[in-house]
Symmetry: C2
Subunit: 244 residues, 2 copies
């Protein structure tokens, strides 16, 4: 995705072994009843090895989020003025989906575990918050100097995260069956339709060479009853203008 993301280094086998041992014990005995000593004993490594890879027992449940946050930050930092900002944060959110969709069985197990353990729920909320802040900071930069720039940035970042998580959680609740990517695309399209400004995406509006926007463009006439709800009028406009 991002040109700045290097080829990922091979994951150390010790780290993988710790994650596998931890999940086996969490599912057998429960998260609270499993100690770090239990995990290292099953993985056949020393206690110090655990803390070399994971600051806490909670971190082993979400082993890839730090890497994904770093990828997202790099992806957003590599953006240029040619990227429509709302579309860009939607694409950034898809990096998180990829993390879950790569390993459906693991993602579904973790989802069930997180639902059961309040400490993991709190940990997950803090991870989600960091993703949302990364998106909001990027949008704040793009909207700098505009009226209500920080307000719009924060609201759109929250909308993107909520749409992404609505689709992701439906998929996880259905045991990872179905096309998570299509569900997330549909949810993010709702946000893009609401907030993306076509004015920021000139490529979307240029037709074949020489037939781009200009004073001679087609004219659309829309007739509406004054009492028609605005959303119906917008829906009709979108159909007429053949926009998403």
């Amino acid at each position: 995705m991002s040109s700045s993301s290097a080829v990922p280094a091979a994951k150390p086998p010790i780290r993988d072994a710790l994650v596998a041992a931890a999940f086996r014990l969490f599912l057998e005995r429960g998260f609270e009843q499993t100690t770090v000593d239990d995990i290292v004993a099953l993985a056949g490594v020393g206690r110090r090895s655990f803390f070399r890879y994971f600051p806490s027992k909670e971190d082993v449940v979400f082993p890839d989020h730090e890497g994904c946050l770093a990828d997202m930050t790099a992806f957003l930092a590599a953006s240029g003025p040619e990227h429509e900002p709302v579309r860009r944060v939607c694409d950034a959110a898809r990096l998180v989906l990829r993390l879950y969709a790569e390993n459906p069985a693991f993602s579904v197990q973790r989802y069930r575990l997180t639902r059961q353990v309040p400490g993991l729920r709190a940990y997950e909320l803090s991870v989600v918050w960091r993703y949302e802040r990364a998106l909001a900071e990027y949008l704040r930069g793009r909207f700098a100097g505009r009226p209500d720039g920080t307000l719009r940035a924060d609201v759109i970042a929250a909308a993107v995260v909520a749409a992404h998580n609505n689709a992701l959680r439906s998929w996880l609740r259905s045991d990872g069956v179905g096309d998570a990517g299509a569900a997330v695309d549909h949810a993010l399209a709702y946000v893009q339709m609401t907030y993306a400004r076509p004015a920021d995406a000139p490529a979307l509006w240029s037709g074949p060479a020489g037939a781009g926007p200009g004073p001679g463009g087609d004219v659309v006439v829309l007739v509406s009853r004054r009492d028609a709800p605005l959303w119906r009028v917008v829906q009709e406009l979108e159909t007429v203008l053949d926009r998403p």
Copy 2:
């Protein structure tokens, strides 16, 4: 607000004394360096009194959120079909603002403390999440059976919370100076403008008696170049139709 919210019972003086003692110590020594024993010693009560009112040291920092969550739930439960749902969740969010605006000095102190202590930040995220779920559950009920009902409910709830918190935090960062209510109204108006469906708010559209919407309503004709950005067309429509 809600007809179902009874006159609040007077707060027990012991509870208030514990909150005051805790905050004095948190600010003097830091949150981590203060024990429950320190707090009860300063408040002049026994250790068991503390845990009668607060499950943990974190809870004493947010003494009123449980009550506010209960008020919000009651307010939403008292809604009828006559309430436009997006406006209703905006009004529900204003209950949280009231909590902060009632006591600006305390709110600003707590904001500073929360920024410094990761455990309190995590606690605050879980509180915000519960407010957001309360709003989303209400909207899911109102949107039941509509296409993308849960998606829209989750996105709008997140947008309302983000807008509210954008304005609230600006106010807290400015040391509680200025009109928090006006700032939150402005932020929530942005969300209402985006999502509220006039179709759900018939009162908004009826003119003088006998002149309400009907087949004989006015006709608006809008002419647009095909290459005009959609947001500009919508902006123009809003002006023509005299809608917010």
